[in-house]
Symmetry: C2
DNA sequence: AAATTAATTTAGGCTAATCTAAAAAATTGA
DNA sequence: TCAATTTTTTAGATTAGCCTAAATTAATTT
């Protein structure tokens, strides 16, 4: 069994590995974990002793198979609890993160699997992220950022890259939610801002917005 | 906010206070917490520094108002989660304790209150124990132990004193559950064992059983 | 290729929560 | 009452997880 802190590190490494294919640097991990590089080195040693990561001094860190399994299990629980909070308890999608950060560490295989069943085996969490199944299998995300679409292209909003409360509240305020069809009417060369059409109305959004919205093109 | 360990101590003191009205002794608390007396002394000092307990050396410990409030909040969460596990996720009443021990430490007032609402404000947990409401008010238990009934008396089973998996499994095996009507047909002077009638059938039970079953007499 | 800068690790401390062993205080009982 | 026993506290270690400051290694410039 892993400690709360170990689980958080494993999760962070997992998320960073997509960006740092050749190994996650100590500094990147320190940034992600909001801690000091020296603390990261300490923890990496502990995780390495438990064979959850592969580590050579000054070379960055990668999850082992066991580490990956553990990370995916935590992510599975996090996302299932998010679905529970929104679907069953009426939380808004910008209110679930902090609570799910706690709930993801509850240890009970039966609990996780019964929760999954109770929620009818959801495939995605409220932010559109895929939920691993009991075997750790992910749905592969076949999506692009809205910022990558060209003028005239159309797609469905399927997820958010940034799930901070601030960003989600901006989306709520502008009625942007998962499932909405979005058409790129104009795209500014200078700052990448866009004029989009949604619900029959036009809306101008900055690149900061479009670069955090996942779209499935139709 | 309190640490996991602090919350567990507060809860233990709360439970022991009913038996030790004049203050909970260090040894009793060590026994309850499955730890050493010296560790208890350490923690009592910490709780005392935070004004969660009143403590004078060698005199046992009592919860302050703040300590009592904190303990009741933890107990409220524990029992609500037990209801959730049984009612919504299909756990048996002998499987919920360990998981609820973890869930009771999740910090989110909104979560607790929305869970309470989702469960339709249950008054009792699966073992018949009262659930404090959001203000910390308990239903007062108006019940006696089955072992206190005399021959010929009748009552309804409303709770268990021991909620260990072993005891609950014994009850399951003998079809004893909350809500059942029980009549004392015979009571043995020598060992206090009883012959009881339930569901039209007779069953002989030892004092260890009858002293752990709460009854509401009709 | 040497020098500077940046990243990483080591060394040494700190705190919460635990432990063992010893000391001190309270209780019991002859 | 006072000696023996029990209970409780103190003293001193230990571990996980974090910190700061210093040292080391790697990367980048010139």
């Amino acid at each position: 069994m892993f400690s709360l802190s170990e689980e958080n590190y494993l999760k962070a490494i997992f998320h960073l590995e997509t960006a740092y294919k050749s190994g996650v640097s100590t500094n990147a991990l320190a940034e992600e974990m909001q801690t000091k590089a020296s603390s990261v080195t300490d923890m990496i040693k502990r995780l390495s002793d438990k064979d959850l990561v592969n580590y050579k001094r000054y070379q960055g860190v990668k999850l082992s198979e066991a580490g990956k399994d553990a990370a995916i299990e935590v992510i599975r629980k996090h996302r299932l609890w998010e679905v529970f909070l929104v679907e069953k308890l009426g939380f808004n999608w910008d209110e679930v993160h902090e609570v799910a950060e706690q709930l993801e560490h509850i240890k009970s295989e039966k609990l996780t699997n019964e929760l999954d069943k109770f929620l009818e085996y959801p495939k995605r969490d409220p932010h559109g992220d895929p939920i691993p199944d009991a075997k750790g299998n992910f749905a592969v995300a076949n999506r692009v950022l809205l910022s990558e679409l060209k003028k005239g292209e159309i797609g469905i909003c399927v997820g958010v890259k940034d799930s901070s409360a601030e960003f989600l509240q901006y989306l709520d305020k502008n009625n942007i939610s998962l499932g909405k069809e979005i058409e790129v009417k104009e795209k500014e060369d200078f700052d990448q801002s866009m004029l989009i059409k949604m619900d029959g109305k036009e809306l101008r959004i900055s690149n900061q917005i479009s670069a955090n919205l996942y779209i499935k093109t139709t």
